[in-house]
Subunit: 396 residues, 2 copies
């Protein structure tokens, strides 16, 4: 069902462009993407030829799961010699220039990298983070199908949550109902993020002032959280009438995440917040016009900044003042923070198979956050909206 | 309530012993431990004097949470100069030898480390992983109190789960009930692990053959999981009568985790598995005799190996054959994989304030896993058993 050789071939093409002889893939998600198994070990991908998955544990299970050759990694010392012998096209003889081997500098810990350097002396190491992230940026039919399944489930969960929402209910109580609903229907129980020190549990639900609290989380709405030991997402504050309630929730089906936001209210939103919400929908409609192959990803952000500015809401856009984040959205897939990022400096032209979450939001300190977030796949003609939930301010 | 200056002082003592001038603490959990805030940034701890938390986001929130001085990190380029100016005792004048600055090589990604190296040229970098992990190894009264609270909650959740357990129920259904129960009562929704590529959701529940499936997870019982994209923990298999059902579950209260295992059965365990379970209790009783200040941590592992061997169960102990893990237990605290590890090569003498999970288990391929896991605090006189759940094979 999943064509791993096509994934490997796309990575190898990027390796050729970057004169990289081999890629020692070290991160669990990257390994899973390239071979179908997430057991502990390293996947070595030569620029030409087939990869080998060197497994520490569990070898038996890797042999069942992986669509590439599996070999026990054995002792770390002898592994270097076996690797060289197995891939002469990379490590060559004495007459060749220094072999270039990439690994993921964006996630690999220093200690582990130093062990690899010791194991393979004479290698010129290179940062392969961009290569692997760009390979993963383009989704296959299978991947789109899994993200669609996650989108359907989170829509069901949203309607379930709206049916339970009432004044006096605490944020974390509503979040626990959402989590219970999705977990019983296949949510893996985690949503992975690549960014260092970043964590997402199941997104956040936040009402009024709590939703508007800034936090470390690399997103426009932080939330109070249950403790300084997890200072984001749902907290103990109770929902009140006539305040915006942000439901920025996701789930993970077979490894693939969805990210979606809706704004709800028990009663009626204050007029200026309802207007700000309407601007968030205007921004998402304007963004949709640009969702087609060729649009430069950062342009979507610039366009949204213009619209927020024209609406007089620049100071509130994507967080408030000093706590603003400088993007409109991000890729999603096996991780919640994939490429392309819709932010200044990200000049990827949109391509069919990219999947992005677009999340225009406005923060009003002490009052709350309003906004919307949909996930989209780029198609040859434009886009497919993956999020299936109804829009508008959801009144309960 | 929490004495951060005492924590800082203990780290500084270790820094003096290692001739380390400064510690640039980079990991979210380590930062939280040392200053009470988990916002994004770096905590700089000089070997003498007060630390400063350089914060990227959210500065406002860090100022509320942190018990140390907070300064916006500003531009990365100018930060290096400001750091040097602020800590002359570390970075000194031209006449001094090269300043030594530590950071956590075990978790810091290479890319981020390289940025730090560029920002602070002329510094001799050192791996501070052991220093910070050893500082965190000794728990305060507050930390013990939080772990006790987590232990009480997981005991309630266990009894709740036993009340629901029935043949035909899928593992993940029972797990979702446990998660729902603890989440509504303050579980943060995550359990942190320090090990690279290691993930724990809420532990695992597994019946029969599924519990005995090996996996990458660095523990004695893996489980099938819901997908190769998360190949561990509870899966879709349905519980049956007369098979061992392993409930290895935890929760996280105010950042602190508990880890506990019980063995249940619907009906009656086969005789040999019941005997193996009895050996796991013998091992935990024998371990308790040794839980007192001065015992060398690896000795607890060697002792358990002896007892498993004498019972004729060596091949089944802590996983089966090639998939065995080589430890008896591990420290717990803000992370589930803390020091000391009860394994060969870990020669820490037990000290008051250490908290360890002791988990003798026996794996029978195709049949299941039996065993027990309790968490203990070391006291001046011996130990306090933190796990409050009833023992024995739990028949439902």
């Amino acid at each position: 069902m999943i064509d791993y050789s096509e994934r490997i071939a796309r990575l190898q093409q990027k390796m050729r462009e970057k004169q990289t002889g081999g890629f020692l893939v070290a991160q669990n998600v990257d390994i899973y993407y390239l071979c179908g198994s997430m057991q502990t070990g390293y996947l070595f991908v030569p620029v030409e030829g087939d990869p080998v998955f060197y497994v520490r544990r569990s070898v038996v299970r890797a042999e069942e799961e992986a669509q590439v050759e599996v070999e026990p990694i054995g002792s770390f010392r002898s592994w270097g010699e076996r690797l060289k012998a197995r891939f002469p096209q990379v490590f060559g003889g004495g007459q060749q220039k220094q072999p270039v081997v990439a690994t993921e500098y964006d996630v690999l810990p220093v200690q582990q990298f130093q062990r690899l350097q010791t194991m393979l002396p004479g290698v010129q190491w290179a940062d392969g983070s961009a290569m692997i992230r760009e390979t993963r940026m383009i989704k296959s039919a299978y991947e789109l199908d899994r993200i669609r399944a996650a989108a359907r489930l989170i829509d069901e969960a949203l309607e379930h949550a709206l049916g339970l929402l009432r004044p006096g209910m605490a944020e974390f109580e509503l979040m626990s109902e959402i989590e219970y609903y999705i977990r019983r229907r296949g949510h893996l129980g985690l949503m992975r993020m690549r960014g260092y020190n970043q964590e997402t549990i199941t997104g956040m639900v936040g009402g009024g002032a709590a939703a508007a609290m800034p936090t470390y989380f690399d997103g426009p709405a932080g939330g109070q959280g249950l403790s300084p030991a997890s200072p984001q997402s749902a907290g103990r504050r109770k929902f009140e009438r006539d305040e915006p309630i942000l439901l920025d929730i996701g789930c993970c089906i077979d490894g693939y995440v969805i990210d979606q936001t809706r704004t709800a209210v028990i009663g009626e939103l204050p007029g200026d917040l309802a207007e700000a919400y309407a601007v968030s929908e205007q921004i998402i409609r304007s963004t949709e016009q640009l969702l087609k192959p060729g649009t430069i990803s950062e342009h979507l952000y610039f366009n949204s900044l213009d619209l927020a500015e024209k609406a007089g809401l620049a100071l509130h856009f994507m967080g408030y003042a000093n706590d603003q984040v400088k993007f409109l959205g991000h890729g999603i897939g096996l991780e919640i923070d994939e490429l392309p990022v819709l932010a200044k400096g990200f000049t990827y032209p949109l391509q069919p198979g990219m999947v992005i979450a677009v999340e225009p939001k406005f923060t009003f300190p002490q009052r709350g956050v309003v906004g919307i977030e949909n996930s989209y796949a780029i198609t040859p003609d434009g886009f497919e909206k993956l999020s299936v939930s109804r829009e508008g301010v959801l009144r309960v």
